[in-house]
């Protein structure tokens, strides 16, 4: 059953097209992320769902009701902002209870609901604190509780973690997921951080220049990107310029190396093609059939992974190796072979 739908939604600012032909159906309780670089239209789309921008054309429905032109106040949509947007003149409890007070909910009920939410976000002792007395992470938790207090039909989060430092961001990301799961609330999340989108979402909408590039589960988006943009934006990618040797067998040539892609290529022999390779699917001196020789140029120790840049003649190849205590660290200047299986290749015509 579809809960939130955007049909042919388009938004222009003068001559500039911010969002173009956006179509999406969101199920009840689903967590959908809009992922893309700055200026791709993800926040504008979210703001159209929230009622803060009006679509130039198209239709938005929520729970069967057309809300395309409804005022933000009458949409039953909770919003969490990047800048927290807590009311500085109110305490934490007053902030959380604001929406209920506006709706003339009984004082006792407001008190009970605020206490519940303070417990949910793990800040029961901060009810009388003012926003300036809280850390960034605590402020964002309060903003989340405030948005949830009105029991909205949809929760909208506009880059809620981007103003926080890495550790707090990870903690709060888990909190958001836990709360969203426990309340089973339909959620739209805007981010430019692919890891955040992958970790949190049931589905990810990748956007570029106002258009939807791909919609799918994180696994699909990452492993089966449908466009070059998605492949390059989501995760790291090596791009190997090669020429088709045998289109039927799916083999291409790169310098002296012959690379088997494992699939037929829809191009005549001799045509130039690009082979896309994820760094984590490459190995150094492994046993796979495809082998490209090179020399280690740089080694980055990143904690959980070791990133190795190999000079493979015409191009640098990035190889990600999982770190472990017994790992023999690669050294700069070592002659190596970058190896990968045929299924790691994604051929771009």
């Amino acid at each position: 059953m579809t809960y939130l739908t955007l049909e042919g939604v388009r938004k222009t600012f003068g001559d500039m097209v911010a969002v173009s032909d956006f179509n999406l159906s969101v199920e009840p309780g689903e967590f959908v992320s809009f992922l893309g670089p700055s200026g791709c239209g993800k926040t504008t789309t979210l703001r159209m769902v929230g009622g803060f921008e009006q679509p130039t054309t198209g239709r938005i429905t929520l729970a069967g009701e057309d809300i395309t032109h409804a005022r933000p106040a009458s949409r039953d949509v909770g919003m969490v902002f990047q800048s927290y947007a807590l009311f500085p003149n109110m305490t934490v409890a007053e902030n959380i209870g604001f929406g209920l007070k506006v709706k003339n909910v009984d004082k006792k009920e407001i008190h009970t609901r605020v206490d519940e939410l303070l417990g949910l976000i793990g800040l029961p002792e901060k009810s009388r604190a003012f926003p300036f007395e809280l850390s960034g992470g605590q402020q964002q938790r309060v903003a989340l509780a405030r948005a949830l207090a009105i029991q909205p039909k949809v929760l909208l989060l506009d880059e809620p973690l981007s103003a926080l430092d890495a550790k707090i961001r990870d903690e709060l990301r888990n909190e958001i997921k836990r709360i969203q799961r426990s309340l089973e609330i339909t959620t739209i999340y805007v981010t430019h951080d692919q890891e955040e989108a992958m970790a949190l979402s049931d589905r990810v909408v990748v956007m570029s220049e106002g258009e939807m590039e791909q919609v799918g589960k994180p696994f699909e988006i990452y492993n089966y990107p449908s466009t070059e943009f998605v492949a390059s934006f989501v995760g790291r990618l090596n791009r190997v310029g090669a020429a088709v040797i045998d289109a039927g067998l799916g083999t291409v040539g790169f310098d002296e190396a012959v690379i088997a892609t494992g699939t037929k290529i829809d191009k005549p022999d001799g045509s130039p093609v690009d082979i896309m390779l994820r760094p984590e699917e490459l190995e150094l001196n492994g046993s796979s059939t495809n082998r490209i020789p090179g020399t280690i140029e740089t080694v980055f120790f990143l904690g959980s992974i070791v990133r190795v840049i190999v000079d493979a003649g015409r191009i640098p190849l990035t190889v990600d190796i999982f770190n472990e205590r017994l790992l023999d660290m690669p050294s700069v200047g070592d002659a190596v072979e970058v190896t990968f299986p045929p299924h790691a290749c994604w051929v771009l015509g």
Binding site: G51, P72, L326, L327
Partner: protein, 289 residues
């Protein structure tokens, strides 16, 4: 990737184990300021005190030199049956001007900040116009415009007073707009507004419960400046034949120097008292919201 064989590396640290941490010697002493350097700020403060207090002391002294007795000037002024009504009118005019000015400036500045930030320079320019239009020009224009049908608003004392309050409100724009705009710049107007909207709040609630309390101090500073301007404004009040404090004081100053000194001090005290009360009331209202 080749994997190394078993290693027997120890996790025990070496290096500085057991080594006592030597206290570091004191760093370079901060440069000592010379005696003159230390006294300089106090000299400035003293100069300011002398600058502001000397005229007051002179006025107090003058007010006590009436030839019929030390407190005679004060007795005459406090007993003057025109002074308190003039004070009352000026205070009411001041409060009314603050109200009119706030009703015009706060929604305008808020809307500009929220929806039309590009118009800020234009609005700033418009609010500065009272600085470049002399008071006498303003009042003559107002009298000319509102003294004949269809806009005959100066036919009675009270209707003229309304015109004067509107003129005062215009005079207060440069101070009020700047104060309110600075207050609005110090908060995230758009996010706060949208957060309140998403929680179901309408415009009156947003303005009174969210925006207004968060720019309260800015409004207060604009209100205090407005009040001070209205209490001392002479030109418009004189031309509009209003019996406010400034024309009354001007009349006294012309003929009665000792009483004028006493009146100045009374006006000074009442103005400060009024400003203090406005500040107190606004702060209390702010705490309740």
């Amino acid at each position: 990737m080749t994997i190394a064989g078993p290693q027997s590396g120890s996790l025990t640290g070496h290096g500085a184990a057991g080594g006592a941490v030597q206290p570091t010697g004191p760093g370079p002493a901060p440069p000592r300021r010379s005696r003159l350097g230390r006294l300089w700020p106090w000299f400035i403060v003293a100069l300011g005190v002398v600058y502001f207090v000397t005229p007051l002391l002179g006025t107090i002294r003058l007010s006590l030199r009436h030839n019929k007795g030390t407190w005679e000037a004060w007795r005459l002024m406090l007993g003057n049956d025109q002074m308190w009504p003039a004070f009352g009118q000026s205070i009411v005019n001041g409060l009314a001007t603050i109200l009119v000015s706030l009703l015009i400036i706060v929604p305008t500045a808020y809307w500009v900040a929220l929806k039309m930030p590009r118009l800020r320079p234009l609005i700033e320019f418009i609010t500065l116009l009272p600085f470049v239009i002399p008071g006498v020009v303003l009042v003559l224009a107002l009298i000319r415009l509102y003294s004949a049908p269809p806009l005959l608003l100066t036919s009675t004392y009270n209707s003229t007073r309304v015109v004067m309050i509107c003129a005062y409100a215009a005079l207060s724009f440069p101070y009020m707009y700047r104060s309110v705009d600075n207050g609005l710049r110090s908060i995230d107007v758009r996010s706060l507004t949208e957060a309140a909207q998403s929680l179901g709040a309408g415009w009156p609630t947003i303005v009174t419960k969210v925006i207004f309390p968060n720019i309260r101090l800015a409004i207060l500073s604009g209100a205090l400046l407005t009040f001070a301007i209205v209490l001392g404004e002479l030109t418009i009040a004189l031309y509009m034949a209003q019996r406010t404090l400034a024309p009354f004081m001007a009349d006294i100053v012309r003929n009665k120097p000792f009483e004028a000194a006493a009146l100045t001090l009374i006006a000074f005290s009442v103005t400060w008292l009024s400003l203090g009360m406005i500040s107190y009331v606004t702060n209390r209202a702010g705490r309740r919201t």
